[in-house]
Each structure stands twice: as structure tokens, then as C-alpha cells.
Amino acid sequence: MSIDIFQAILIGVVYYLGFNGTPWLTNLGATIANRPLIAGTLVGFILGDPVTGCIIGAAINLPYLAYISAGGTVPMDPGLAGTMGTALAMAAGATPQVAVSLAVPIGLLGTMLFTLRMTVDIAFVHMADKAAAEGNYKKVNFFNVVPSQLFLAFISILPVALGVYYGADIMTRIIQSLSGTPLHVLTVIGGVLPALGIAMNLRAIVNKYIILFFLIGFILQVYFHIPIITISIIGFIIAILYTELSMKDQGAR
């Protein structure tokens, strides 16, 4: 499958719309268009095959399942993996399993874009300071949106469009040569990566007994194969009971 320049730009736009901080879909856009399952499906629509896009996007989504971006840091970029990863995998005819191994390194490049953006935007907030000193709120709002979004659109659409347009051939060659040990290595790494998102989430939870609760969920799933929604209901019940009991204890002391 080949990707024309128009499709390449549209894929870049999907990436831009899912970038954390793009206002057009409200900021939930960043949790929706940014997730490889959704981004992959949208890329599939653009390339004329939403079902394949969805299947590949779903596979790429796994390492990012518990992805967390808190306090202005991103460990990896599910949006770039989901858009560019899906597009290149579809162009090269890769299997979902191979797609995920190739998309994750692509997603790492996205963290550089995020850092670049968070740094350059400092200049705009200083301009907003000047506008505030004039008491001009319209100008403050202007600096919140216009320059920052023009810059963000530029650094997100351009690399993706170019990467997708020129990368398809290279990716096809990489995928054809990928077999045996290198493929196995990538697959193993892909399987371990969800641990990072989960661990970052765990670290954000400052609670003495967090590992114990974590083990409850782990054992429920590993031995009883309870679906995640049911685990969350059980988790909610335990959470209420634990909170009530521990708070009661505090009150009595």
C-alpha cells in the first residue's frame, strides 16, 4: 500500500489533534485521538481500511494501556506510535505483533517533540505576562492559543507527514528483513513495556500499603482471570471498606 502526500498530511493532523494541549477536541482529545486504538482506526480510515487500522492500533495500544502523563512529563508518546506506527505498518503490510515492536521506538521520538514544545511555549507565557501588565485579557488569551498552536501544529504535522510519506519504503524493507532473533527481541521488549506505565502510575500513588492492594488485583487476574471491569468493582468495594475502617481508626485515636 502506498501513501500519497495528502493522506500523509491528514495522518499528521490526526497526530496534532491528539497532542496533549490541542484545544480543538477539548483536551479529552489528548486521551482519545492520542490513544493508538483510536489513532490507528482514524489512520485506517484515511488509508481506506479502518478495520486493519483498528487491529494494528489495538496491538500498538497495549504497551500504553496504563500510560500516564503527570506534572508535565511524558515517558513515551502513544500518539506518535499510534499514528505513524499504524500508517507505516499498514503501508508495509506488517502483522500487528511486528507493528507494536516498531511503533514503540517511534513513540520515543515523540517525547522530544513534547520537550521542545514545553520549552518553546515558555516564550509565549512571557508575552502573556506583558499583555497582562497592560491589562489586556484578549491579548493574554491570544498568546494562550494562537502562537502556541501554530508552533505545535508545525512541529507535529510536519514530521509525521514527512515520516509517513518517505518512511513507507524504508519500513517495508525493515519489516521484510526482520525475522529470527531481532524480531524475538522486539517482541519481548514490547511485552515488558506496559510495566513502565503501570509503575509510573503506582509511583504517583503515595500510600503505605499500595503494593499490597496491587498484589490483590494481580492475583485476582492471574489465578481467576477476572475481567478488568469486574476487578475494578471489587477494587472499589475493598477501597470503600478500607477507607472507612482506617479513617475510623484515626478518629478514635
Binding site: N20, G21, T22, P23, T26, N27, T31, I32, C54, I55, L62, L65, A66, I68, A70, G72, L108, R117, D121, V125, A128, A131, A132, Y137, V140, N141, F143, V145, S148, H184, V188, I189, V192, L196, I198, A199, N201, R203, A204, I205, N207, I210, I211, F214, I216, G217, I219, L220, Q221, I228, I229, I231, I234, G235, I238, A239, T243, S246, M247, Q250
Partner: protein
Amino acid sequence: MAEQEKTEQSLLKKSDVVKSFWLWMFFYVSNYNYERLMANGFVHALSPVLKKLYGHDKEEMKAALQRHLAFFNTEPHFGSIIGGMTIALEEQRAKGKPISDQMINGLKTGLMGPLAGIGDTLWQGTLTPILLSFALSISAQGNLIGVGLYILLMPLIMFTIAYNLWMKGYFLGREGLQKLMAGNMIQKVMTVAQTMGGIVLGGLTASFVTLSSPVSFHLGESVLKLQADVLDKLLLGLLPLVMTLFTLHLLNRKMKSTTVLCIIAGISGIGAALGIF
């Protein structure tokens, strides 16, 4: 009711507060940056309110804009109660009540941390993975219904939470803050979120982190398979569990997440190349 009393004597209409809420939802990180994070977005959201309260007074307007351009960062949906409360405080201040800059800044900085903790745990740590795994279970084979459900459910749930907290923050105002801070409400919600988040993350680890070992030992005639005969007997999913806790350990040593990513990818990659995994 308190709500009615409030509207009778208020300078703002409910529609101003609602407008402000939507500006927050759309623009809170339009100009996200390392120096002040959501500050510019916060001012943007408050701008219709500030215009109404201080539009006639250039000096007050200037002061208000500068006041809210200070560092601000929280989880935007659960933290939206801060926006509502700030509006209530600004309204009081515009009516001549003795509300200092310090009081407003104190409210914002005092609440942004705890609410970010609750919000990130419940939203990114619990709700998003639950909805995603649900959508993935439907869509992994190419059924687009899962994708559609995720696109519908996520905004439905998050806007409901954020809108109600924003309005509640406004109508409760300063008294609400005192109530929140005096009782152990925040701590309670936080503990529930943390406990539930921990359990869900445990379930996710078991479902989605995969690592196993093909190593086997030949002892004379018999073969001992490391995975099936040793590790699985100890605890199913032992390797994924150890790997996840090891990752957590590295993060707790204040390592950058990108460094940690390289370490775990390196270990599993080298292990795979050597035939250990």
C-alpha cells in the same frame, strides 16, 4: 436554597461560570510550558468572569490577570473545583469583601496538589485503562464498536465529573473550601482512589505485562522447564510481577522515566537475545 441566594446577590450569571468552564475544558493546556504549566490556560478560562468583574477598572484587571498567571498545575477534571472556587472568591473580592491575593493563591496552590493526586489516579490510572481494556477486548479483532464506545464514554464520564465539580466549587465558594479542608473529605476520596487504583493496576499488570523464560535444564533423563516447573509453581506471572516492581523501584530512586525505559528495554532485550526470555 443557597444556590438561589447566591444568584440574587451575585455579579455573575450562571452562564458566565458555564462559559468559563468550557474555556477551561478547551484551552487549559493550549500553552503548556515548563515554567508555569497551566497558568495561561487558567487565565484564559477565567477571562469572561474577570471581564465582568473588573472590566471597568484597568488596574484591577491588570492585577487579576497577573495574579492568575502564576504557576498552576493540577488534574484538569477533578481539579476543576478549584476554578469554580476561584471564581467565587473573585466575585466576593469584586464586591468589596476583604479577600487578599494571598488567600486566592493559597486556595489554588493548596488544592492543586491533592486534587492532581486524586485526579491522576482515578482518570489516568483507573478509568482510562479500564475503558481502554474494555474497548480493546471488543476491537482487537477489528470490531469498530469498541472504538466508538471509548470515544463516547470517555467525554461523557469526564465532562460530567468536571462540570459538576466546577459548578459545585462556584456555589460552595469559600465556605466549601473550609468544609473540604476541615473534614477529612479530601483524604477519604484520595484513599479510596489510591486503593482502587492499586488493585486495578495489579489486574492490568497480570493481563498486559508479558515475560516468560524458555530456559530448561537437562538433568540426566528428565527435563526441568524453568517456566512451567519452577516459576509457575511459585507464583503465576512471577516474571511480569518482578519486572513491574523493579521498574517501580527504579522510578522510586528518582530516575528519569526515559532512563528507566531504556534500562527495562535493555534488560529484556539482552535477555531475549541470550535466550533467557
